[in-house]
Amino acid sequence: MAESKDIDRNGIQIGVYVCHCGTNIAGTVDVKALTEYVATLPGVTMARNYKYVCSTPGQELIKRDIHELGLNRIVVAACSPCLHEKTFRSVVAEAGLNPYYFQMVNIREHDSWVHTDKRAATEKGKDLIRAAVRRVRLHKPLERKRVSINPAVLIVGGGIAGIHAALTMANAGKHVYLVERDATIGGHMAMFDKTFPTLDCAACILTPKMTAVKSHHNITLWTLSEVTQVDGYVGNYQVTIKHKPRYVIEDACVGCMECIDACVYKQAKVPDEFNMYLGKRKPIYIPFPQAVPQVVVIDRESCIEFKSGKCKKTCVEVCADRKAIDFKQQETTETIEVGTIILATGFFTVDAKRVPYYGYGIYPNVYTGLEVERLINAAGPTNGEVILRDGRKPQRVAIVHCVGSRDENTNRYCSRVCCMYSLKLAHLIKEKTEAEVFNFYIDMRTPGKGFEEFYNRVADEGTHFVRGRVADIYPNPGDGGRLLVCAEDTLMSTVRKIPVDMVVLSTGLEPQPDAQDVRRRFHITCSTEGFFLERHPKLAPVNTFTDGVFLAGCCQGPKDIPDTVAQAGAAAAEALALIDIGYIEQEPNTAHVLEEVCSGCKTCIPLCPYQAISFVENKKKAEINEVLCKGCGTCVASCPSGSVQQNLFEDEEIFAEIEGLLAYA
């Protein structure tokens, strides 16, 4: 490098500064003897000791020596580099020398503060400085890279988390691409009837936000769309989006729904996903009345025109003036450029069939919590009536907590929201049917604002609580279709077998079934349970280990709506902070492949958790994307031919340090 040849034209000139740190170091380590010793080392032009090297006069000393003595390498022996390495690198840079021509030696936290034997501590100081002096000779000039941030943001998932994050960022003036794979946004929250603990109507609080998303000029809303590929790195992502055909031209449809009435199917026959398959719809349908976009969709699996090509197409007839129906619509893809990504892909409920002894799918009157939500909802398949499959109104209902949660056989974790929604369902069922309600629980987890009070309220309303895990559910012989729910009531120390008409299983929350595929696509990781992994559980709950990708909502872990909205705001804030600065600076301790000597053995390729290493087919060699590289050095150590090196931690630099440490062994 021309610069380094120039700077070293008079040979290596090292300046070493030994700090007293008051008496913190000097009280145990003989700093004067250390300085005298260091001055004798090859390559050392100047060795000084000073009371506080980090102070302004201390820093000035270094800068002056660099200018007056032509120093081209600096070593400071003082406190921990974790504390002041950046400080001194800046000092060196201010003096016009590349800041990475610097090495720090820890003779405080690792020496004077932990040893009492002064002679030994001083000897240790000599070894450590000698190692640094040998190492710093080999340092190369490095540059911190600045990566600019594209202000557009991609938000994946149109549930409450995605919606809130989108509105926050759009209101801040940033362009948002909101991508949702279903035909409407709203997510799980749109399916709820009332939300705990306030019993707000879910649709009432959600739909205004959904409408705001549609009409916001900064939001590009794409439904029936999925992200298929993510390339690039923080600030510069190229994302490929696949738009699945709706068979309806979105801009042309006004949501009048006359096509649904006109459909050749006089009766709705197709099991309806939004109503948890309890209701029916036609092949042409709108997911729910307040869907956004307010546009119908055609399901090609059940539509006669797609199945046989011979339909009368009455739907097209009634839409003659708008001409919104297009059976020839194709899947399209497009690529967008964004700087940050927020993942808000939500959760999936545990499949109740995984707990077979609860009888879901076997006995008709066993329901999941979400199914009951739909029954209770006025716009649901039973118009808000809680009616069993055989048409009867239940007189006694069992609500079973912890289905698929806190269970070694399914998921060990607690799904956090089920106690609250079980209480909510208890209240709503009672309200609608005046049935006797039994909640079977292990612990009652009601930690949020108003939650404990809600529990008390539901208890006051006469709901029965049985503290015991339900062991078995089976038909009560000779009881006309009633089911027996068996559980040990641990507070009474007896086994109870309670005959009920209806069982509601409070199923837990799980990651989406394709979470692993999705996380790989976005270059992030998952925890052992399969939820997307946050950078730090306490201090960075919305960041991931991949710069520029953030998490919001249940995709990161089970949580209720208030926490989801809070997290979505946090994710938006993190993204906005990045966009606001406009760039990020990367530490230069990245790895690089020595292309001329790489043999293409591929040993390094799968080792990078950030997928920074790729195999370049036409060269048959490995290549590292320095922006993705985080500088761990794993690939460097694994390379069997020494063809990968890490800036600032090169093999030769570390060997020099080892040899320096032991030189007088």
Binding site: V597, C601, K602, P606, K620, P640, S641, G642, S643
Partner: protein, 323 residues
């Protein structure tokens, strides 16, 4: 007056003779060599004596190709003698380059080796437990044998070496290329290994079949599986040293459906071939649990023999501590 042909010499130390075979294997090309150079010392083939070498002028041999490791005092003396008499001293073959397979003797003490060889092997009849090396007599006077040293050393651990010809033995094409280079105008940097500086994967015929990720629950020895002739050997669980071994041989072992054993030593940036090889192999283990990792690694029965087959004396830890 015709210009004198440059002088070259060959010598063998602790070796199997394979490197001498390699020179003979040059077949017709040996005549080209003879045409261009004068072989002035080659114990296996020509009748020159040590005294003849001693009488040569220092530096008068253009290049000496010395194969075999250094184990006895005689080999050490000859190495030093030839060093004095040669302009260029070339370490020929794995044994002189890195210590070679004989280098694995550094896992044992000198005593235990002598004992095994002279007392304990099944076909030895030595009731008086006589060890060679004790000064004896023969018709003309005293007879002493060279001292069998504590451990095996590579050539550059005894004398300064100019170039290295890697391989066990070096392939004919490597030899002819090297000889041509050394007899030519532009000599490579002193201390170079006369072979490409990349690892073998670059030349391997099965390179394209190697997947980007190999995750193994066990390693296999060649006799344990039917080795697929087209697929990367590492991917089949065999301990192929190719990624940690210098190229230049064009992978004849792989072409013979056997994994590379590392005879050409490591590429230039590596200080210890065995260490780097084991690092790469360890990264293929498909487990994150310590006990399971150990169980997978148990399918490598002899790590030192595998990873340091040719290079133990040249490694960072050159010998067993008990030696």
């Amino acid at each position: 007056m015709t210009r004198e042909k440059p002088k070259i010499a060959f010598y063998w130390c602790a070796s199997c003779g394979g490197c001498e075979e390699a020179v003979v294997d040059l077949a017709e090309e040996i005549l080209d060599v003879v045409a261009t150079a004068d072989i002035v010392f080659w114990p296996v083939a020509l009748d020159f004596k040590r005294r003849d070498v001693e009488q040569m002028l220092d530096g008068s041999i253009l290049a000496t190709f010395l194969n075999g490791a250094i184990r006895t005092s005689e080999q050490e003396e000859m190495a030093k003698l030839l060093r004095r008499k040669s302009k260029l001293l070339v370490a020929f073959g794995s044994c002189s380059h890195l210590g070679g397979i004989p280098g694995l003797a550094n896992l044992f003490t000198r005593e235990s080796i002598l004992q095994a060889v002279y007392f304990e092997t099944p076909t030895t009849e030595n009731p008086d437990c006589v060890l060679p090396g004790v000064p004896g007599k023969d018709g003309n006077g005293k007879l002493t044998l060279p001292y069998f040293s504590e451990r095996v050393r590579a050539l550059d651990q005894v004398v300064e070496v100019d170039y290295y010809l890697p391989g066990c033995p070096p392939l004919p094409r490597i030899i002819t290329r090297a000889v041509a280079t050394l007899l030519g105008e532009h000599l490579p940097e002193k201390g170079s290994v006369l072979a490409p500086d990349e690892a073998l994967c670059t030349e391997c015929p099965r390179k394209d079949s190697k997947p980007e990720k190999i995750a193994l629950k066990s390693f296999k020895r060649p006799q344990e599986i039917l080795i697929d002739e087209t697929q990367c050997l590492l991917a089949q669980g065999l301990l192929c040293m190719g990624p940690a071994t210098r190229a230049g041989c064009e992978a004849p072992c792989v072409l013979g459906n056997m994994p590379c054993t590392g005879c050409c030593g490591p590429p230039g940036r590596v200080r210890d071939q065995g260490a780097k090889a084991l690092s790469a192999i360890a990264s293929l283990v498909d487990s994150q649990d310590e006990q399971e990792i150990d169980a997978v690694l148990a399918s490598i029965p002899d790590p030192v023999g595998t990873f340091y087959r040719y290079s133990l004396p040249a490694s960072l830890l050159a010998h067993s501590r008990k030696v």
